[in-house]
Amino acid sequence: EECGHISLSAPIVRLGDPVTASCIISQDCSLLDPEPQILWKLGAELQPGGRQQRLPDGTQKSTITLPHLNHSQAFLSCCLHWGSSLQVLDQAELRAGHPPATPSNLACFMNLTTNSLTCQWEPGPHTHLPTNFTLKSFRSRGNCQTQEDSIPDCVPEDGQSYCSIPRKHLLLYQNMVVQVQAENALGTSVSPQLCLDPMDVVKLEPPTLWATAPRQPGCLWPHWRPWKPSLFIHQKCQLRLRPQHEKTNWTQVATLPSSVLQHQLCGLPPDTAYALQMRCIRSPLPGHWSRWSPSLELRTAEQAPLVR
C-alpha cells in the first residue's frame, strides 16, 4: 500500500487557473506521530494553506488549493517531517497552458514533382502543452457545399506546420475541402475551410531562359523553355528586363503564351548589357505565378561603324 497518495482536481489547467490537490497518508506511514503534519511543496518551495483532517478510518488527509498556477509545468509534493528531515511521500506533475488558438493562414500548393498537395498554416501562439495538428480533408463538388469521400487525415511530423497529401488520395480537377484541426488537453480548434482543386494551386517553377546572338543592333533574342513537369499546362509568361548592375526598376516588356518559346526585343541602345527575367502562370485556367527566373545577362549588338 502507498505511503501517501496525491489526487488532483485536474492534472492540466489553464495557465493562471486554480488547482486543488489532496494527499492521504496511510496509517502505516505515520508510525511515530499519530497526528503527523502534512506539508506541501511546489517545486522546492513550501506551500502554506493546507487544510488537514483525520478521516473515520484513521488516515490523515490534507487538501490545498493553489489559487493561480502560473507555471506551465511543476511538481507538487506531499511531505512529512520525520526526525530532522522532510520526507516526500508522493509527487504529482501539474501542467498548465492554453487551449489551441485557431490555426490561420492555411494555404496549399500542388507539387508536380512529388505529385502531392502540401498545405501549410500558422499554428498560433505556443500553448505550453502537447498540441496535435491534423490536416483534415474530403472530396467535394461545385463550390464545396457537399461532402463526398473523406480523405485520410494527414498528420504532420512533430513540430511541423505543414503536411503533404499523397497523389493516391487526390482527385485532380475536382474541388476538395481542406481544414486544420489543433487539439490539446484543454480543447480543440479548427481553421476555416479551404475549398480548392489541387490543379488550381499548382506551384510552377520558373522557365529556363537562354539566348542566341542578336541579329540586329539594339536587339536581344531571348529564348525559354517552360519547366518540364508543367509542359502539359497551358501558361502565359511575363518577360521583364533592366540595365545590368543597375538597381533601377524592372521594365515588363512582354506577356506571351508559354508555347511561344522566343521573343525579339528591339529598340534598345546598342552595346548595352541587360538582365532579363521571366515568370509564368497557368492560363487560362486558374493558377499561381511562379517565382521570377534567375537573371539572364545579355548584351545588345554593337552599332556597325559608318563607312564614309
Binding site: 497523389r167 487526390l170 485532380l172 480537377y173 475536382q174 502539359f232 497551358h234
Partner: protein
C-alpha cells in the same frame, strides 16, 4: 438524331480542364512507352499486335465523337466508358516491374480522375446513365513479358484514344 455540339451547354472550364488532363495523361503515357522501349526494347506496338489479339486487349470506341457527326451525349458516354476501360487495363498491369509501377500507378490515377471529371459533368448536365459502368473482364497477363507487352499496347491504344478526344475538345473550344 444529330446532337449538335451546341445543344449541350458545356462550360468552357470543363473543356479547358479536359484538354489539360489529356495532355497530362499523354505526357505520362509517353514516359511509360519510352521506359518500356529503353529497358525492354519493346518500342513498336505493331510488333505486338498478334499478342494483343490473343490476350484480348480491347480498344475503346469513339464513334459518336467523329467530327463529321458529333453526338455530344454519346461522345461523353463513350469517352467516360473508354477512360473507365483504360483505368481497368492499367490496373491489370499491376506488378509490371518495380521501375515502371510508379509510372503506371500515376497514369492510372490520372485516367481515373479524368473519368470522374467527365462523369460529374454528365451528372451536372443530367445526361449521365442511371448506373456507373462496371468493368468487364480484363485480359490476364500471366508473365512479366505479357505485362510489359500489354503496357506497350495499352499505352499506345490510350494515346490514340486521347488524340481523338483532343481533336473533339479543340472543336468544342472553338468560339
Amino acid at each position: 438524331p444529330l446532337d449538335p455540339a451546341s445543344s449541350l451547354p458545356l462550360p468552357q472550364s470543363f473543356v479547358l480542364k479536359c484538354s489539360e488532363q489529356v495532355r497530362k495523361i499523354q505526357a505520362e503515357g509517353s514516359v511509360l512507352q519510352e521506359k518500356l522501349c529503353a529497358t525492354y526494347q519493346l518500342c513498336h506496338p505493331e510488333e505486338l499486335a498478334l499478342l494483343g489479339h490473343s490476350l484480348g486487349i480491347p480498344q475503346a470506341p469513339l464513334s459518336s465523337c467523329s467530327s463529321q457527326a458529333l453526338q455530344l451525349t454519346g461522345c461523353l458516354n463513350q469517352l467516360q466508358s473508354g477512360l473507365f476501360l483504360y483505368q481497368g487495363l492499367l490496373q491489370a498491369l499491376a506488378g509490371i516491374s518495380p521501375e515502371l509501377s510508379p509510372t503506371v500507378d500515376t497514369l492510372q490515377l490520372d485516367v481515373a480522375n479524368f473519368a470522374t471529371t467527365v462523369w460529374q459533368q454528365m451528372e451536372d448536365l443530367e445526361v449521365a446513365p442511371a448506373v456507373q459502368p462496371t468493368q468487364g473482364t480484363m485480359p490476364a497477363f500471366t508473365s512479366a513479358f505479357q505485362r510489359r507487352a500489354g503496357g506497350v499496347l495499352v499505352a499506345s491504344h490510350l494515346h490514340r484514344f486521347l488524340e481523338l478526344v483532343y481533336r473533339v475538345l479543340r472543336h468544342l473550344a472553338e468560339p
